[in-house]
């Protein structure tokens, strides 16, 4: 009875003989996927991307990527008879006259926000658990590429409807391009096909937005997935989990069901948002004219940190040879390029810098718990703080207007916070990590509190500790030492050649700081006198 019916067997044999699908499926359907909620975060981005492709296709059926002038004659009264671009008029048409158009437009926009947000939370998960380490550095770099492209994809999409708000974003983009020394003006004339705003930019952005960038995104996402599949997913430390195995559920049926359910969840959340929360109401903004600008003009959230850096920047500029030689507007150039550069370059280089500092060339398939690499976690949190302050201050006018805080006060606060905030965040995070490590060490050496208070014959009270459960213990014991490069001092106390230079010494110093385990798990019971009573009691109970 175990043989399949002939109708199925025939077809599958046909396919198997020609595609070799049988052995492929046999190998891959049973592939194991580890179970942890944070491993699903990247799927938010993946499924949002699918929704974006589908809704985007719908939108292209009616959107006209043209800056030709038309008079609006649709069903939205307050704009009737107004001259506008075809792009804007067709977006109004999608919103008010195409059945389901507004819903699809809103889902598309919400999906765009969640696409980037999903990427960011996924990236943070990968960073804080050290899942970017060998052999996954290339996949990490692909991820950085995806994130950068997503920002650009968002920017071009945001500009397409040619409403007043998108025009403000376009104008800033043009300003940034112009601020690039020497070649800036050439690039702007090339990109816009003449003076700003010209007649070409919408159709050019359209091609980029629906063809080129999604194409590259799709290719990179595929590569990202294949690499993940081939290299296998990292897993959290735990019982029975080693660097050589993967403990979890097989792709078919368990993981596939979960992934499918998660797609439906993502789609459901996007549909909910698209139905109940209005996004990008272009009819309220009005058509774009370069002369108009609205208070509260903001980019979508993922560009907010660039907006913030622009708002925080002090008005510096360099005038070469008076004003005749040309101006380098540092007040635009620095905020546009430096924070983005710090964040993206920092992300891309981090796996390699970490390898260089620790000298760690091993493969890692067990993820780190963030607390166990205190310096990495602190660096990550201070980067998040840096980003977060810029992001927050990108909305300083709304903060000022809604919370009645002076506008300049927010700027001045931001100018200090952008330097102090990351430092404070580093220190606090480091202390928190060390504290959590202490707690782990305590659980390993003392056990967990049982809630039972016991009175000893000599009148002393102790709290009885019991050994932790196996899985918790295995999870904690998954802590892995971070290698420190050997100082390699020979018998005369002379370090090797490479470690003598300034950089060599710095590297050795950083390596020692980064790798030294301050709270080893097996520290026994040496906790000092004040714990003697508890220690004495628990030794009796535990052993």
């Amino acid at each position: 009875m175990d043989t399949p019916p002939k109708a199925i067997a025939g077809v599958s044999t046909f396919l198997d003989d020609r595609l070799g699908a049988g052995s492929f499926l046999k190998r891959n359907l049973r592939k194991m996927f580890p179970d942890h909620w944070s491993f699903l975060l990247g799927e938010i981005a993946l499924y949002s991307f699918i929704v974006l492709l589908l809704t985007g296709t719908f939108l292209t059926f009616w959107f006209k990527p043209s800056m030709g002038h038309v008079m609006y004659d649709g069903s939205y009264e307050p704009l009737k008879g107004i001259m506008m671009s075809e792009a804007y008029a067709s977006t109004l048409n999608i919103s008010f006259d195409v059945r389901g158009g507004l819903l699809i437009r809103q889902i598309h926009h919400w999906a765009a926000l969640l696409f980037v947000a999903g990427m960011v939370v996924h990236m943070l998960r990968v960073f804080f658990t050290g899942a970017y380490r060998k052999p996954r550095e290339l996949n990490w770099l692909i991820g950085i590429g995806l994130l950068s492209l997503a920002l650009f994809e968002g920017l071009t999409g945001y500009s397409l409807p040619d409403d007043l708000l998108s025009g403000a974003g376009l104008r800033i983009t043009q300003g940034v391009i112009l601020s690039i020394p020497l070649i800036g003006t050439y690039i702007q004339f090339f990109l816009f096909g003449g003076e700003y705003p010209g007649e070409d930019i919408i159709s050019r952005f359209f091609t980029l937005h629906i063809l080129l960038i999604p194409g590259i995104l799709l290719a990179l996402i595929t590569a990202h997935m294949i690499l993940m599949w081939v290299q296998k997913h990292t897993q959290m430390p735990g019982k029975g989990r080693t660097e050589k195995n993967v403990v979890g559920a097989p792709f078919y049926p368990a993981f596939m069901a979960k992934a499918g359910a998660y797609f439906l969840f993502t789609f459901g959340v996007l549909a909910l948002l698209g139905t109940f929360a209005q996004i990008n109401p272009i009819w309220l903004f009005g058509p774009y004219t370069p002369a108009d600008i609205s208070a509260g003009s903001q980019p979508d959230w993922y560009m907010g940190f660039l907006e913030g850096s622009l708002r925080l920047m002090v008005p510096w500029e360099i005038n070469l040879f008076g004003t005749s030689g040309g101006t380098i507007p540092l007040s635009v150039l620095i905020p546009a390029l430096v924070p983005l550069g710090i964040i993206m370059t920092g992300l891309a280089l981090y796996p390699f810098l970490e390898q260089w500092v620790t000298g760690d060339r091993r493969e890692h398939h067990i993820a780190d718990r963030p607390r166990n690499n205190a310096h990495r976690t602190s660096i990550g949190i201070s980067a998040v703080t840096f980003y977060g302050i810029l992001w927050l201050l990108g909305a300083n006018d709304e903060i000022s207007a809604n919370f009645h805080i002076g506008l300049y006060e927010t700027t001045i606060f931001g100018r200090f916070a952008i330097f102090l905030g990351p430092v404070i965040a580093y220190i606090i995070t480091y202390r928190v990590c060390i504290g959590l490590q202490r707690k782990d060490a305590e659980v390993v050496s003392h056990g967990v509190e049982s809630g039972v208070i016991k009175r000893m014959p000599n009148g002393e009270y102790i709290e009885v500790h019991t050994p932790p459960a196996d899985d918790i213990l295995a999870h904690i014991r998954g802590k892995k030492e971070i290698p420190v490069i050997e100082s390699g001092v020979d018998r005369e106390g002379i370090p090797p050649k490479g470690a003598r230079s300034l950089i060599g010494r710095l590297r050795a110093k950083m390596s020692k700081a980064y790798g030294t385990d301050r709270i080893p798990l097996e520290e026994g019971h040496g906790h000092g006198e004040e714990h003697a009573a508890v220690g004495a009691g628990e030794r009796k109970e535990v052993h």
Binding site: I82, L273, F276, Q278, S294, E398
Partner: protein, 277 residues
């Protein structure tokens, strides 16, 4: 007074009473104020008001002014360190400021906010105050009802003017925005058509004046039509999220969107397959 030592003593005693100095000051102020009140309405600017039968309004308005406004704007509306002169601001300015509750200001901040009206602020009281201030030196008058009737304006034309002139401070739907040094462009959602007109005509607080040669009365009516039609519009896409643009959208994407999906992820992965037992 000789021979009436007792009464002299009593007068002296009263003269030295602790409250005596206040009584003297009050008497002097009363004489001054009363004398002034008798003298002031004889000013020539009031002639027109007298002729049109509004002299009563002017006089009543002056009383109200002395009671509620003079401490900052001066007894003659000439202005003090804490308030500007009101000579020449016109009835429109009075109506805008008082009917929106901005004046009398409760405290000298960067900007007087809209607030609930005091009990004494009735339409009649505003009329009287306005008549008084108008009598001082002219200025923009209040618009007639049909000048601010949204139904008579063209919202599409008004929208263009609104985008060109107002939204850089008031935001694209008039939700308001921040200005420097603690000032702000208030939300227009609570402003009556008359108040919107008067604000354009008089330029209250940080706002510039859009006089009739910059924006004609008809254009003002178009703008009023646009503002009132957009603010009464039901958002077709769901909740408007405050209509302040992408900031609240980003918050919703993170707080609602990402939170819901994280909860879903936790839920999905928490359902462990039970071992066969």
């Amino acid at each position: 007074m000789i021979g009436t030592g007792r009464s002299v003593n009593s007068i002296t005693a009263r003269r030295r009473h602790p409250l005596a100095r206040f009584a003297v000051v009050a008497l002097a102020l009363g004489l001054l104020g009363g004398g002034y009140a008798l003298a002031a309405p004889t000013g020539s600017t009031a002639d027109a008001a007298v002729a049109s039968g509004k002299a009563d309004d002017v006089a009543q308005g002056k009383d109200l002014f002395i009671a509620h406004c003079a401490s900052c704007h001066g007894l003659n509306a000439e202005g003090t360190k804490s308030g500007p002169t009101l000579v020449g601001v016109g009835a429109a300015a009075v109506d805008f400021q008082v009917s929106s509750g901005r004046m009398p200001a409760s405290d000298p901040g960067a900007q007087a906010p809209r607030k609930p009206l005091d009990e004494w602020v009735t339409p009649q009281a505003i009329d009287q105050l306005a008549a008084y201030v108008q009598s001082l030196g002219g200025g923009p008058t209040r618009p007639a009802a049909e000048q601010v009737d949204p139904a008579k304006g063209d919202p599409a034309k008004g929208g263009e003017l609104f985008r060109a002139n107002c939204i850089q401070c008031h935001n694209f739907v008039g939700a308001g925005g921040a200005l420097t040094y603690g000032k702000y462009a208030p939300s227009l959602n609570e402003s009556s058509p008359t108040q919107i007109y008067e604000a354009m005509a008089t330029g209250p607080q940080a706002m510039p004046v859009f006089n009739d040669s910059t924006i004609t009365p008809d254009q003002k009516r178009d703008m009023i039509a646009y503002i009132t039609s957009v603010r009464s519009q039901v958002d077709p896409g769901g909740s408007g999220l405050g209509r302040i643009g992408p900031v609240t959208e980003g918050l919703v994407a993170w707080i609602a969107g990402i939170s819901l999906l994280v909860l879903a992820a936790i839920w999905i992965t928490a359902k462990k397959r039970q071992a066969h037992s």
